[in-house]
């Protein structure tokens, strides 16, 4: 009930359309809350202490797993160390209360703090390494923890373990319910709500971008390292909380309770239950803990065999986990078409007031180019990707960079966006020397970017995909932002995976436009598009310039698009600009003819 109140209170602060938990997630959240409540209530009513204890422990695992779910699915960080965080928190609290004689409250605080410190340590490698390297480091950490307890045996009493006596929290609150049951249930419901809130929030989407593509995140102005640490922080809060709850519930700790197996169990619970869903960890705890450990207790000798077999079978039959698999079956039974539809970005831009463009063109010195790069050089090993290249991009123009494969076009684009550090040369943007500024800083100054392969998250809606950059300070005054806000409700009803490829390009461009850039850098926007879609893209680019006054710089192979859409063309070869000019002026030049010898008819 408490969550209901908070669900309704917060939206009033922001815009009325904003939900703390997205409407389509609410049913799953309520169902999840009902399941965990019933799981505790039924044994209470039936008077089964054995099942009550088992269900409470299952809820403690659920708290830790929900945190890991956010870390694994939302932030895409692989951690096998959450069991160790839980272990540090639990063990510290047990030592504090059972050995050092602190009060239970101080023990909880100390244990929680220690868990958070362990979580912080566990998260630091994520600043440097990703993927299975990160998994390996965290796994080594989890493997080392019990050994560390034994290494300091005199202090940790590792061989005997530590007993903790019952305290006031084990007193009856009402009827047969003790305070601990209430606290554990509240924490477990809280962790489910947290999953839903993060999944619905822009912060959650920022985590997603930072985890899936640090480059894309940087060009949106997001600091992915900080976001990753925050995600680890959330997961650590859950794991540390689970740690202290574990001690209050079990009243005994030993190093053997916090081995790598616990971390693996938590990871399995998330992935096998259904990563990224609210109910997933519940399903995971049921199939991996409740069934083998409690339900089939008579087959205790076969416990590990059953556990491993269940894990393999579920992944084999349902690669997205139990909840993901059930959802897929349900939707195929229903045969209901997903809410589809297209996004008409060009049409949206066509409605721009004519005053839109000059408002921006007025900023900065008149006549000076928007972006000017001089003498840029970059070398990768033995490849001189950029060899003293210079380029100027004026205000409100579409500038195409063409050239053969390996000529340094994409490297040039990356050097302009700040994704590649140049060995020498200078980049000016709006009259400012931005050479030392990183990709995030350049994004904040108004440099937008899209990538060759669209970075579109297919399990989110179109609007969620567009609105995943950092929140902008102050009221939005740009016409484009207001226009996008106008289609928000409509775009929030379209599942991104229903979009055809061409529309995904538009979506990425919309995402970049949402940041109101003054320069939009596009890497092969026409790649993989049909002729009709290329035509649309061409008019979209002209519309972007007309509506926002921004400039577009693009690397492109499709000469027809280049000839139709570009104001200026720079021909790049071997890390140098061969020639720059208007399409009409350069199309008869011998360099162009040689370069595009395969093209029989140069349009124009």
């Amino acid at each position: 009930m408490a969550s209901r109140a908070s669900t309704e209170r917060a939206p009033a602060r922001v815009t009325p359309t904003r939900h703390l938990v997205r409407p389509e997630l609410k049913r799953e959240l309520w169902l999840s809350i009902a399941i965990v409540t019933l799981a505790v209530a039924v044994p209470l009513v039936a008077g089964s202490t054995y099942w009550l204890q088992a269900m409470l422990l299952a809820n403690v695992y659920l708290v830790a797993a929900s945190g890991l779910n956010i870390l694994r699915s939302q932030a895409e960080q692989m951690s096998f160390g959450q069991g160790a965080v839980l272990g540090v928190s639990a063990y510290t609290m047990a030592l504090a209360v059972g050995v050092w004689g602190l009060s239970p409250l101080n023990g909880v605080l100390l244990g929680f703090t220690a868990g958070m410190m362990a979580g912080l340590l566990m998260s630091l490698p994520s600043l440097r390494v990703q993927g299975y390297y990160l998994g390996l480091v965290t796994m080594a950490g989890a493997l080392a923890l019990p050994e560390v307890f034994f290494l300091f045996e005199d202090q940790t009493r590792a061989t005997t373990g530590v007993n903790v006596l019952p305290s006031a929290i084990n007193d009856i609150a009402f009827w047969q319910v003790d305070w601990l049951t209430i606290v554990i249930l509240a924490c477990s419901i809280g962790s489910l709500v947290l999953t839903g809130v993060v999944r619905s929030s822009r912060f959650g989407r920022q985590l997603r971008v930072a985890g899936a593509s640090p480059e894309a995140a940087a060009t949106l102005g997001l600091r992915s390292g900080r976001l990753r640490l925050l995600a680890f922080g959330l997961a650590s809060v859950c794991a540390s909380l689970a740690g202290v709850l574990y001690v209050l519930l079990i009243q005994y700790v030993a190093p053997g309770s916090f081995t790598l197996s616990l971390s693996i169990l938590l990871y399995f619970v998330v992935v096998i239950g259904g990563a990224g869903t609210i109910a997933g960890p519940i399903a995971g705890v049921v199939v991996l803990y409740v069934v083998p450990e409690v339900g089939l207790v008579s087959l205790l000798d076969y416990r590990l065999l059953i556990y491993g077999a269940i894990a393999y079978t579920v992944i084999f039959l349902m690669p997205d986990g139990v909840v993901g698999g059930l959802r897929r079956i349900a939707s195929s039974l229903r045969k209901k078409a997903e809410p589809g539809g297209g996004i008409a970005l060009a049409a949206l831009l066509a409605n721009a007031p004519p005053a839109g463009a000059p408002a921006r063109a007025g900023t900065g010195e008149t006549g000076a180019p928007l972006l000017k790069a001089e003498n840029l050089s970059a070398r990768f090993g033995r490849v001189q990707a950029l060899d003293g290249i210079s380029i100027e991009i004026g205000r409100g123009e579409v500038h195409a960079i063409v050239g053969p494969n390996g000529s340094g076009k994409t490297t040039l684009l990356n050097a302009l966006s700040g994704l590649v550090t140049v060995d020498q040369g200078t980049v000016w943007f709006n009259g400012e020397d931005i050479t030392p500024v990183n990709a995030g800083g350049r994004a904040a100054r108004g440099l937008g970017r899209t990538f060759q392969t669209p970075r579109v998250f297919s399990d989110m809606t179109v609007w969620e995909n567009v609105d995943c950059g950092p929140s902008r300070k102050g009221a939005s005054t740009d016409w484009i932002e207001k226009a996008l806000e106008g289609v928000r409700a409509q775009w929030d009803g379209i599942a991104a995976h229903t979009l055809p490829h061409g529309q995904r390009r538009s979506l990425e461009i919309a995402r970049a436009l949402h940041r109101a850039p003054t320069l939009l850098a596009l890497d092969e926007p026409a790649a993989g598009l049909s002729p009709a879609e290329r035509q649309e893209l061409s008019s979209l680019l002209r519309a972007v310039v007309a509506a926002t006054g921004a400039s577009v710089v693009m690397v492109e192979h499709d000469l027809e698009l280049v000839w139709n859409a570009a104001d200026f063309i720079s021909v790049v070869d071997a890390g140098k600009v061969l020639v720059t000019g208007r399409p009409a002026d350069i199309r008869h030049m011998p360099e162009i003819r040689r370069l595009f010898a395969g093209v029989t008819d140069v349009p124009g």
Partner: protein
């Protein structure tokens, strides 16, 4: 003086075991992109069958050592191939290419459970089959020499195999670009299962010779594979030469710490090694830095 020699010999010996585990991980990684967590348990399988079949340890049977060696290697090869097939199966249909993390750990758990049924939860006392040779005043079991030689031989054999045979070349091509290999008409599944089988064979040989060196216990299976990973990563993932150098260095370091601070310090030290290497040089000592596709 004696202690230094013992640390060195034991360190190089156990390091050679980790090198061999690392090379078996590399073979699969290069062909499939999978890091097989079950490799530690496969090593345990090799140890268990060596224990069961070796005349000295069980007292029954009187097979010549070479027959036992071949039989153990064959068993582990088959188990590894089966496990590989079961790992690769869901990867071909599923959209999520990370199912192997779960399936290889699950395989490790299942194999471990079976091994406990067979032999119980204990450290197997595998006898030294070849006797001793004297060195600097101590008696060194020949297996320490044999396991080091095996590491070098496996390294050379893998090199030769990958250069000499079309299958080897094709396996190599998989590591360069899996999609390109598929387009080139190389049927990937049998080759990838083959890579698991090769890894199994390496682990079979390693378990037979190395069982005496590291002391095989089911409960340590994850230690073996994680130490193998660490050696592979320090040497540069996928790079066997790197593993050949990194293994003994890592082994000696572990043994040194173990002598000074006790066995419990081994894994915290291993953790420190992997963290330091990844912080300073994520691509490993011999690894190439792959350009990220932007």
């Amino acid at each position: 003086m004696d202690e230094a020699v013992i640390i060195l010999i034991r360190g190089i010996g156990s390091g050679a075991v980790y090198t061999l585990v690392a090379m078996s991980l590399n073979v699969i990684y290069n062909a499939t992109g999978v890091l097989n967590f079950a490799q530690g348990q496969l090593l345990v399988v090799a140890g268990v069958f060596t224990y069961l079949w070796y005349p000295d340890s069980s007292g029954t049977g009187s097979l010549p050592w070479i027959a036992v060696l071949l039989a153990v290697t064959l068993v582990v090869t088959l188990v590894a191939a089966l496990q590989g097939w079961l790992t690769l199966l869901p990867m071909r249909s599923g959209s999520d290419q990370h199912s192997w993390i779960v399936t290889t750990i699950a395989a490790s758990i299942v194999i471990g459970a079976v091994m406990i049924f067979v032999i119980g939860p204990r450290t197997l006392a595998l006898k030294n089959p070849f006797g001793f040779f004297p060195l600097a005043g101590t008696q060194v079991p020949y297996v320490y020499l044999a396991i080091s030689v095996l590491a070098v031989v496996v390294h050379l054999a893998l090199r030769w195999f990958q250069r000499r045979y079309l299958v080897g070349l094709a396996l190599n091509a998989l590591s360069q670009d899996l999609d390109a290999a598929r387009t080139a008409g190389i049927s990937t599944l049998p080759l990838q299962v083959l890579s698991f089988a090769i890894a199994g064979a390496i682990l079979g040989l390693t378990g037979y010779l190395g069982g005496h060196v590291i002391g095989v216990a089911e409960s340590n299976a994850l230690h073996y594979v994680i130490f193998g990973f660490i050696v592979a990563v320090v040497g540069g993932l996928g790079n066997n030469t790197g593993a050949l150098v990194a293994g003994p260095v890592f082994g000696v370091l572990l043994m040194l710490v173990s002598f000074q601070l006790g066995g419990s310090a081994e894994i915290p030290l291993a953790l420190a090694v992997i963290v330091i290497v990844l912080m300073l040089r994520p691509e490993g000592i011999f690894g190439r830095l792959h350009a990220r596709r932007v």
